[in-house]
Point group: C2
Amino acid sequence: MSAQAPHNTLLIPGPIEFDDAVLSSMSHYAESHVAPGFVKVFGETLTLTRKLFQSTNPSAQPFIIAGSGTLGWDLVSANLIERGENALVLNTGYFGDSFGQCLECYGAQVTHLKAPIGDRPSLEEIEKTLKQKPYKLITLTHVDTSTGVLSDVKGVAQLVRRVSPETLVIVDGVCSVGSEEIAFDEWDLDAVVTASQKAIGCPPGLSIVMTSGRAIQRAQSRKTPPGSYYAAISNWLPIMQNYENNKPSYFATPPTQLVHALHTTLSQITADVPGRFAIHTQVSDKVKAAAAALGLKQLAPRPECQAHGMTAMYLPEGLAPPDVLPGLLKRGVIFAAGLHKEIATKYIRFGHMGVSVTDPNRKDVDNALAALKEALTEAKQAKGL
Amino acid sequence: MSAQAPHNTLLIPGPIEFDDAVLSSMSHYAESHVAPGFVKVFGETLTLTRKLFQSTNPSAQPFIIAGSGTLGWDLVSANLIERGENALVLNTGYFGDSFGQCLECYGAQVTHLKAPIGDRPSLEEIEKTLKQKPYKLITLTHVDTSTGVLSDVKGVAQLVRRVSPETLVIVDGVCSVGSEEIAFDEWDLDAVVTASQKAIGCPPGLSIVMTSGRAIQRAQSRKTPPGSYYAAISNWLPIMQNYENNKPSYFATPPTQLVHALHTTLSQITADVPGRFAIHTQVSDKVKAAAAALGLKQLAPRPECQAHGMTAMYLPEGLAPPDVLPGLLKRGVIFAAGLHKEIATKYIRFGHMGVSVTDPNRKDVDNALAALKEALTEAKQAKGL
């Protein structure tokens, strides 16, 4: 039995359902942000973040900062590229557009390599584009929350190292970290930007960014000052290093209660990181098979482009999200409507991440699939389809 | 009896002790950030923020954003002034220095008008400085957390309107909002930047900024784009307006649990805003009288320069914070060490804000004063003073 009040099950692609232990860690009494107790918790949380990314290279550096996931784009754009330099955005949906806007805000010259909806740019196209001019960094959205398209992070990183080794590889992992495999050191990534509220299973309010030694070095050897104060790596680096070395330090007051929640969920996750990816894949396969059995096509037709923590599915011809979502809600299940502007009225999104997937006592996914079947039937009948 | 685990009482100038109801609001089950329930709570929280600032002018606009208080400086510096324009910082301690650095990061030409430690620039000096060149904005730290110096916000705002009416009046209210009187409309302020974790009594993790119609207009009529993406008023303004009008909207995922906590504490505070200022003044007077009776001098010698939510006191000659703070801790009381670089080893800081002051069932302040007396006696004896 959950300690939480009865409620509809939140199965959107983030925020997600909370584990009781994670939620109750936020009820910790007030602490000074520079007292030994909190310093230890924050320091351990940074170390657990390394484990989450399967990173053991001491030159890699995690950052945990009060903010939404969006803030991670500023951290990249204000520190790792300078005004007038080139950035290549592999665009697989809404979030590629927005990351591009953030880069432009700090003066980068942005090229978008856009894939058709549901697909991702091919390695051949990326190689061709990378050879056209020198790019300071390349960004890719690991899972685009708007479309459920999965990018080939490992493949792109290998390609970049081969054809443009100085280009930093930046991953938007807001909708992937915790549900999709990421081997930060082994794949030789430069930054993964994420947030607390998706597959990491913590409430929203934390921007989490993992950076390589190469990225830190790039930030430290800028010709011009960083473009942001709150998102300046130079302001946060000593703070993160000090906390992880158990030394209090101050730049801005850390969000103590959220850090406790993150500590709890990362302790759970890092007990078995590969196992976590495996169960997300297994449940995703089940969801996708069930959707197919209901005649629902995914936005991402190719299996290798399909995320494992969410499924974006076209509704049958003649149905829109308002025809189906209320029927789901009536059955205690919350899915999300479409988000990609061009097709928003044609599809729905089902988030299957975190505790809804990993807790064997929960039947969230099975219940959702049963509710989806019923709600679809009901909606078709209502429309005479 | 508190529902919280037994713990030492946190009486630093923020974060502060939590009210049980505020803390438990964070245990709310997971919600979609765009679902009716949360949209209503967020919208109401924005409306309550207006009340907190005693503002009824519809052209004023509150912002509530995931971030530390520091982020508010970016919101001001990246939107309300452009590269090469002049900013005047009334500097009463550590936080004036830092706000100046933030303004410079976004290209402002910063002039510091620095007061001696424990004092504030006089209205005469400010008037003289304002007449020397056109300033786009002036900043003042309402209460400098490092020194406990209180600024004359009303007086400065009146002066600015008289001698330099186009200059925006920007108040850093991180350590004042909720304990010091602020009448946003009546005093004709342009921005008050604050954070959740001090006298507002919410856990840390929210940047709260109140802006005037004049400030919004300045942001909207910039010649150059805003200097930040995450802190761009243009990105957040429609979001805040939509939520307050009960319409879901998305730029970045709001920190749902912290918004619930803020809603709870603001509901409590806004039940009697003038009463809240009165009780903080009353308790502050008691603390300052008790400190004087113990022979402790305040950093701010003049009463009109003394904050009402904290007291910064010099220790007796021969004693440093490490001689006294452990004695307080032994008695269950946490004070803060000095923060102002030049004199950090000579003083301690006592935060008396929020529930420790307003809850008649708590004896936090009385207990702290008793503990302070004992700890000082003990420390003097140990040093043979």
